[in-house]
Symmetry: C2
């Protein structure tokens, strides 16, 4: 079994792969900002104008010159002349003279001469055209300054930003309605293995349905890339090589899921070595599941051989394919979605090997639903992490899981009651 | 200011809204399983056949009758006759006779008569047609039983399941290529406010661009629903009422983002009361940002009035719109994506009010990138949560944030150094 002579830890394996890839040239396309959700920006954005670009009130009240209110109190109110109202959505009709005030609404534009807003609650109308103020206002109080959100020319969004609702809002607030984003990376997917048939067919004894190309396609889609299906390839070197060569020429990254037998896995390695230099870089990862993963680079593009075991294929997809897609899209690193939970049982692990356990997150209080709702943010209930036991190649052990629990290579296991971090998948 | 007489805590407000909504009738549609990523299933799925439906080997080795290997050791190997090879993807050509073994690959089908597999590593070929075995195999060793993943008829996926890559794989493994999923909920979005203009226009003094309908559209899309834009409506009762009535008849849920002035917000409440019974249920939430949020039900459909302040609108979208969409889709509750981090500063909070702070997650080690990469799963570096200060209506304070930190109503603040849970947004 020459393939497993040296098993690399996953982090080292990933770094080895990345170090052999050329710096990605991010191909970009111009799209409408409202349609940019989940895309990765491909240009630095500087503010074309300050935001806001006029002084706005943050409350409903009266625009004043702060000095006219100094010393005002319940027992000794300040008296100001009411000089009309600032209309919403338009500039005030006049400047504010000393000794005067103007009615202003939240979001209204401060008149020239005004430098603070007194909240309506601290005022009372005295006579017709006159206002009593019971609280002194500091300069700038209840006012958003010009450029307080962003200054003109400021870098507001770096290249490589994931476009979320807030980013979409930020760009539109600046009037930027189009954006260059990274083109979707094309990921070629090839299945091999003589026992593998398309999911819509009925297996004869000994046959299994191809699910890897579909689970990986979903993972690729979720990661912001475009899956390209090359189907199930006959288990010969020539057939696999020809399809892989075609995929490599048409895609940015190729994934081959081998059949489950050792000979098919070895063939994948041989094909990767033939496709282009340097070929196979990593053959075997010290992780469970996923040992037989192969990482290679052929003429500047990554080719990954994943185990035929559907759980291994998917877990190793999370470990290698997702970060690779992020790199090819030029995405800035972001925190991974996790949940802290209390482990319910002892979990053994072999020292030196990184284990990934599918776990279910359950609420310890029996009245809650079995899958448990974590209250948003801090102060929520502590969930329990319940490992799903079973052989590592059972797809429903992963479908039943809320996430994956990592046992680091330097640990020999985890103890019941320990707080652990579960990667949501 | 009659609107804020009673401010409800967000959880209570949400429950009040939900309790006035009829049990949702989930409209469903039949789609292809490989295209079902991120949809919510609308039917219970029972396994049409066991999985696997034949006994499979989990290793490369030799199929045996366990009893033929009992007592085998390095010093006293068992000798078995080699009776050929199990082909991949087909049934074995014959039964396994006592005293015999068959070469079998990972994933291969066990022949009748065999009940265990000995790993290749524990064997050596003796003479032509004979094998030495150095380790006894227990019955069932290295074998996946029929139905070990799922039994025939077993409930493998409950209605309301979010379709992830593993769920797609599970259904395809069973040959289920089509699935009933919840139809996308239609969410009508209306903006109002005389100061509000479309983002592509240049604001005159006092005007601001409408970003709420676009940030909320992105949030709605991200939550698996379909946004329907009704544009910016003139700031009169009739205009707002007529558009809201149209939206209510065409959508499953309507969101009105008010202009920022108090009068526009009040008008939203009046419109909701006119649209249908019971009308406004909650007027004012004890949270920051987001106090002026209005929750109502009109003739069985939810109508939500969100503040014009873009940060409030989006944060309250996370608090109310997302859970409502999940409810309307019939989605089973799932853990929210969070990250544990160490708070860098003291954060004050008013007791009785729930605060949501935008925070940036940063890596304490300076060599790491500013946004920080969390190592997958347990054992990763502890990130720091750095609150983003600034007035609550600055959209870029949210665009700069990795997530939201909740300060619960019974806390008067959080201390620097505390571990906090950050909701990723």
């Amino acid at each position: 079994m020459p393939e497993f002579l040296t098993l690399l830890p996953p982090d080292e394996a990933r770094e080895k792969l990345f170090s052999h890839l050329p710096k990605p040239e991010i191909a970009s396309e111009l799209i409408e900002v409202p349609s940019s959700l989940n895309r990765i920006s491909a240009e630095d954005i500087h503010a074309p104008h300050p935001l806001p670009d006029f002084r706005r009130s943050t409350v409903d009240g009266f625009a004043v010159q702060a000095k006219d209110t100094f010393g005002a109190s319940d027992s000794l109110p300040a008296y100001l002349n009411l000089a009309g109202e600032v209309p919403m959505g338009a500039a005030p009709k006049s400047e504010l003279e000393p000794g005067h005030c103007m009615t202003i609404h939240t979001g209204g534009m401060l008149p020239e001469g005004a430098n603070a807003v007194v909240m309506m609650e601290y005022t009372q109308s005295a006579r017709e055209g006159e206002l009593e103020i019971y609280k002194s206002a500091a300069e700038g109080e209840n006012v958003i300054r010009i450029g307080e959100d962003v200054a003109q020319g400021q870098l507001v969004q770096a290249k490589g930003t994931l476009m979320r609702p807030a980013e979409i809002g930020g760009l539109l607030a600046l009037g930027l309605t189009e954006l260059r984003v990274a083109k979707k990376v094309r990921v070629g997917l090839i299945s091999s293995g003589d026992e593998v048939i398309p999911p819509e067919e009925s297996p004869r004894p000994g046959q299994v349905r191809d699910i890897n190309s579909h689970t990986l396609a979903a993972l690729v889609t979720k990661s912001g890339a475009e899956p390209v299906q090359y189907g199930i390839v006959e288990d010969t070197f020539e057939a696999l090589h020809d399809t892989a060569a075609e995929a490599l020429s048409e895609c940015d990254l190729v994934i081959i899921t081998a059949g489950s037998s050792a000979s098919t896995r070895d063939m994948t390695a041989d094909v990767i070595n033939k496709l282009g230099g340097p070929g196979v870089l990593v053959h075997g990862i010290n992780t469970r599941p996923g040992k037989p993963t192969i990482l290679g680079v052929c003429d500047g593009k990554a080719v990954i051989g994943l185990p035929g075991n559907p759980v291994s294929a998917l877990v190793n997809g999370y470990l290698f394919v997702v970060p690779l897609i992020e790199k090819l899209l030029g995405a800035n690193p972001r925190p991974k979605a996790t949940v802290q939970a209390k482990l319910t049982v002892n979990l053994p692990s072999q020292s030196g090997r990184e284990d990934w356990w599918p776990v279910r997150l359950v609420s310890p209080s029996p009245s809650r639903s079995p899958k448990g709702v974590l209250r948003e943010g801090a102060g929520g209930e502590v969930l329990e992490a319940e490992p799903i036991f079973g052989k590592s190649n059972l797809i429903f052990s992963l479908a039943a899981a809320d996430g994956l629990l990592r046992i680091s290579p330097d640990a020999t296991g985890l103890s019941a009651g320990e707080m652990v971090e579960v990667l949501l998948v």
